[in-house]
Structures are given as C-alpha cells and as structure tokens.
Amino acid sequence: MNPDLIIPLLAAAVQSGTPVLFATLGEMFTEKSGVLNLGVEGMMLCGALAAFVASLYTGSPVLGLLAGGLAGALVGSLHGLVCLTFLGNQVVSGLALTILGTGLADALGTPLVGRIAPGFGPLALPLLADLPLLGPVLFRQDPLVYLSYLLVPAFWFFFARTRPGLRLIAAGEYPAAAAAAGLDPVALRWAGILGGGFLVGLGGAYLSLAYTHLWTSNLTAGRGWIAVALVIFAAWRPGRAVAGAWLFGGIMAFQLRLQAAGTTLPSSLLLMLPYATTVLVLVAAAMRRGAARGSDAPEALSVNIEPED
C-alpha cells in the first residue's frame, strides 16, 4: 500500500475522530455517574455554535472553546433538571434535548451560515513531528487534538485513582449505597452531567473551530449519536473509546477522499458508511459480549433516584 496515501488518511482519521472522541468521553463521564443522556447531538451542536459565535466576536478561539464547553454543560443541565430534580424518564428527556438543542442551534445559527471565525490550525510539535509514521499522523495536528491525547489518560486516572472519581462511579453503580455512605448521589450525578456536558460541548467546538472554521447547518451530522453508540462499544472504558473514535474518523475521512477523488459511487451511498458501521460495531460488541458476561453498563444507568419516604 502506498504510504503517501495511508499517512494522510491516518492523520485525517485522527483529526476527524477527535470531536467524536470528546463527545464519547463526555457521554461516558455522564453515564458512569448513572445518567443516560441521549441529548448529545443537540449539546454538541449548541457547543459548536457557541464556540463559533464566541470566537467570531472576541477573535479568540480559546474563548470560543471555553464557550463551547460551557454551552454543552448549560444545555445538559436541562436534562439534569428534568431527570434529577423532576425524575423524568431519562431516555425521553434526552430525546427532547436533542430536538431542542438542534432546533436552538439551527435557529440561532441561521444568520451565521457561511461566516468564518478564527479557529485552530495545525501545530507541529517539535521533535515529535519528525518521528516516522507516528510523527505526521499524531503530532502534526491542531492543539485540540493534543488536548484529547491528554484527556484520555486523565479520564482513566480520574476514575481509577481519585476520590471524586470513585464517588461518581458509586453514584452510577448503586446510588443507595453512596447515600448510605454519607454521599449525595444526586449531587454526584449533577457533576456527571455538567462535566460530561462540558466535554461534549468541546467536541462540538472542535467542529466549528478546528475541523472547519465556518458555520453551516447540520455540522454534527449524527456524530452525537455515534458517540452514544461508541460508549457502548467501548464498554465504558476510555482506551477503547479512542479506538472507536479514530475508526469513525477514518471512515469519514475515507468517504470524503473517495468523493474528492471523483468516484462513481453515489455520494448518498458513501454517506451511509458511518451509520452502517455504527450498527455493525454495536452488533460486534453484542456478539463479543455474549449472553454470559452480561452488560458492562453501570448498574444504575438510567435509573432515577427516587426520594425515600
């Protein structure tokens, strides 16, 4: 295989997969605390818009990034309000949030379609960028990609070696036990929603500040949903999330390249690739899991905490 074709494809896979990675880690963070948030698509799109607008009007992509994360957390907090305070059904609330979030972002973003905002460009890391194969693929990316490299081990460390991480897991596995231990599982789940929402917002921000620098409609194109699927595929472990996200990045990059190369395959069929792959990935995960092992999901996932009498 021609390395001149492979290396740019791999590099594009990493870049393309990064927003999905942020969103997957964000949803994983929320789910580990026991909350299923299907509103990722809406939160991501709102994050993208907020980041775009902030960067457009302040000229600072870093402020844009922050705004994107905050927007994700803010939209996610609606889910928290409905589910944690009002004990609403988590599945339906997430769906409502997707409808609302995508509607909000589309509506507010209409006047901005086609505009360009300052964003992040590639930043080759000295020394590392010159490594064979790994250099051009991993170390000639934009700063947000490097951020994602740090995020994955930090995510692992947070849950494996810190007190708040352990407590969040307890809220997701057995909230009553956490309460008996003197903790507040509802507060822990709020942290899960807001923290996860922030990461999802960052994923959205990536789309409008790094992946592209402009605003169009449907910027996310279902990536939020793919992130939800990837959390299942990754069995709620961050390392696997990277593999899944970069796989999707690769598929999307591959599909774009085929189209650019003037293939005779119709674009509609090519666009099907990521979605079809998601289904196949879930099937593979289910077959791998088998009936014996049971689910890897946090035990209290999507189960609301009802008040004691």
Partner: protein, 371 residues
C-alpha cells in the same frame, strides 16, 4: 429543596393529572415566546400570528389537518412501541422507506387504475416500513443490541437511501437535475375529498385510530400487547408470546409510519423527493409520550403539534422566525411535560421540622430491666 420533600402518592392524582399537559404547554410557549422576545419579536404579536396561522382561516385549518395525518399515523405506531418499552425512534426512517415502497409500486405500474394501484401502493409502503422496523427489532431480540441507536442509525440510512434513489435511478429526466421522481400517474395520487383541500388520508387516519382503539380494548391480542408492557417476565408468566409481540408491534409501527410517508408523497407532493422528509417521526415521539397509547389523546396531541408547525410557518413569513423554531417548541413542550409528570407520581409536603419532643426525664437510675 425549599423546605419541601417529595413523597410518593398513595392514591392516583385524579384531576391534577389533566392539568399537567396544558400547564406544560403554556410554560413551553411562554419560554419559546420569551426566547423570541429576546431577539426583538413582540411575544403577543407572535402568539397571535401563531394562532391565526394555525386556525385563522379555513385554509389554515385545512393545512393543520393535512399535517395532522402523518403525525397521527407515526404517533400511533411509536406509542405502541413505547407501551411495550421498546424505544423506537426510527419512525423517521420507516416513514422514508414507506415513501420509497409506495413510490416503487407507483413507478412500476403507472397504467393501473387507482382502485388497484392505490391499495398496492399502501401494501408496498407497509411492507417496506415494516421491514425497516423489523431489523432493529430482530437485532434487539437475538443479540440484545440497543434499539435506540439502531433505529436512529436506520433513520439516517433510510433517508440516504431515499436520497440515492431520487438522485440516481429514479430521477426524472425531465426534472433538469433536481432530485425528484417523475410525477405520479393520476392513479397513484391519493384523491382529495371534493370541496376541500383535504385528502382521503384523513378519514383513513380516523378509521385506523378507531381500529387501534378497538384492537387494544376489545381483542385478546390487544390485551396481550398492553400486558406485555409490564415486562418480559410477566409476559412469560402469563404465557404471552413476548418476542412475537415485540416484532408485531415494531412491524405495525413501521407500516403506519410507512403509510404516513406514502400519504405525504402521493397526496402531498405527487412525486418522491427529499423534501417529503419533514421530521414527523420525531414529532411523533413527543406525541407518543404525551398521549401514551390512547388513540383519542394521540389525535388531539397530533392536531396540536400540527397546528404548531403550521403556525410556525406563519411566523416565518410574518416575523422571519427560522423554521427550526418549531423544533425548539416541541423540545420545550416535551421537557416541560416530563417535568410536570413528576406531580402525578409524587406530592410535595413541607419537610417535617425537628420533632419538638419535650425534654426527656433525666437519665434514670440504672436498672437491669426494661418493661
């Protein structure tokens, strides 16, 4: 919070639960209008335009009724799946496949008379939609694959499939490059009710609604469907064919959503093109959650949300409100209803203050016995 604690109700809520939906609707409208007010559009005028757009003239009401039909059909199906706790959010894709299935028949047999062609088209649409719904149902059954994701992915795949057909093999050579099929033969177009702009799809909806009501309340299979909503264990205990019921319900939903797609294609557009997709499948989720599996409530909620869509179209004209505002309202309504449903299961009472017990007697002389 606020000195109130929540307690589970021991009796059903009674009249209170009827108030929840209107209250939630009002709140959602309030928030939506407030949002518009922030962008400089006067809320009262907007509300007026919304209402007049939906109900202000015969034409407006007809328009609302026309939009009610596809929403109603999709909602019937989705409500049935929600009842059996299958989270089917694939109505959008099933709608697309129904449009495709019906179009396939229409394009294949343009010469047939309507009395033969239309039923065949309905059959084609039902089969295509049911098949599209059966895929995630089987994956869920055999492999325990999460149906939320699979139905959603099949939405994208179904819509892209439709796109491919109208951009490719089915594209009308006379359309100058626009993605659309040729105009349907007159026999393939669902006719209008004379004297109105309404088509026969609406009476069909009414018939289906009645049929579903009858099915659920009077037949054994309908009973089994309702009872299976309690879960697989109870279904097995009562020797009900749970797996078959799930498949049946999903197939039914696919067929109904498929008919919605067919109706919009045949009566609404007269040809298949990507604009047939209007998000009815997602609106159906809102309706299904609001109305549960009560056909009359589904009809009312579908009508309401159709009115909202038509009203928002008016807002687009009068106040240049973007089309996505309709989705904002739908999302807000659903969120407010979810929050409001809290009050059907719980009541709020003042938290008990520290029990004002009188001071205990001084520690008694130690004894060995307690009475």
């Amino acid at each position: 919070m606020f000195g109130l604690t929540a307690h589970k109700r021991t009796e059903p809520p009674g009249w209170g639960s009827v108030c929840i939906f209107p209250a939630a609707l009002a709140l959602a409208l309030f928030l939506g209008l407030g949002l518009l007010a922030l962008t400089g559009r006067p809320p009262l005028a907007v509300l007026g335009a919304l209402l007049s757009g939906a109900f202000g003239s015969v034409r407006a009401v007809e328009e609302t009724l026309l939009k009610t039909a596809p929403i109603f059909l999709c909602s019937l199906g989705v409500a049935a799946t929600f009842r059996i706790k299958v989270w089917n959010i694939g109505a959008e894709g099933q709608y697309a496949l129904g449009a495709v299935g019906g179009t396939a028949v229409a394009l294949a047999f343009p010469g047939l008379p309507a009395s033969v062609l239309l039923p065949l088209m309905f059959l084609g649409a039902a089969l295509a939609g049911a098949l599209w719904a059966a895929i995630p149902a089987l994956l869920r059954q055999r492999l325990a694959v999460n149906e939320i994701i699979t139905t959603l992915m099949l939405n994208y795949l179904g819509i892209l499939f439709l796109d491919w057909l109208v951009y490719g093999p089915w594209k009308d050579p006379a359309s100058h490059g626009f993605p659309m099929t040729a105009l349907f033969a007159p026999g393939a177009v669902l006719p209008r009710i004379p004297g109105t702009r309404l088509h026969w799809g609406l009476p069909l909806c009414a018939a289906l609604g009645l049929g579903l009501w009858f099915f659920l309340s009077r037949t054994r299979l309908g009973f089994e469907l309702k009872a299976s909503g309690e879960g697989r264990r109870t279904a097995t205990y009562a020797r009900m064919p749970y797996d078959a019921l799930v498949l049946l319900v999903m197939g039914l939903c696919g067929a109904l959503a498929g008919w919605a797609g067919l109706i919009e294609t045949s009566a609404g557009l007269g040809r298949l093109q990507p604009t047939v997709m209007a998000g009815y499948g997602f609106t159906a989720i809102v309706v299904a959650w609001l109305a549960r599996l009560r056909p009359l409530a589904i009809a009312m909620a579908a009508f309401l949300l159709a009115a909202l869509r038509v009203g928002v179209e008016n807002l687009m004209l009068d106040f240049s409100v973007p089309a996505a505002f309709g989705r904002i309202l739908e999302g807000l309504i659903l969120l407010c209803v979810l929050a409001g449903q809290f009050f059907t299961t719980f009541t709020l009472r003042r938290s008990k203050p520290l029990a004002p017990n009188p001071a205990p007697e001084p520690a008694p002389k130690p004894t060995g016995e307690a009475a």
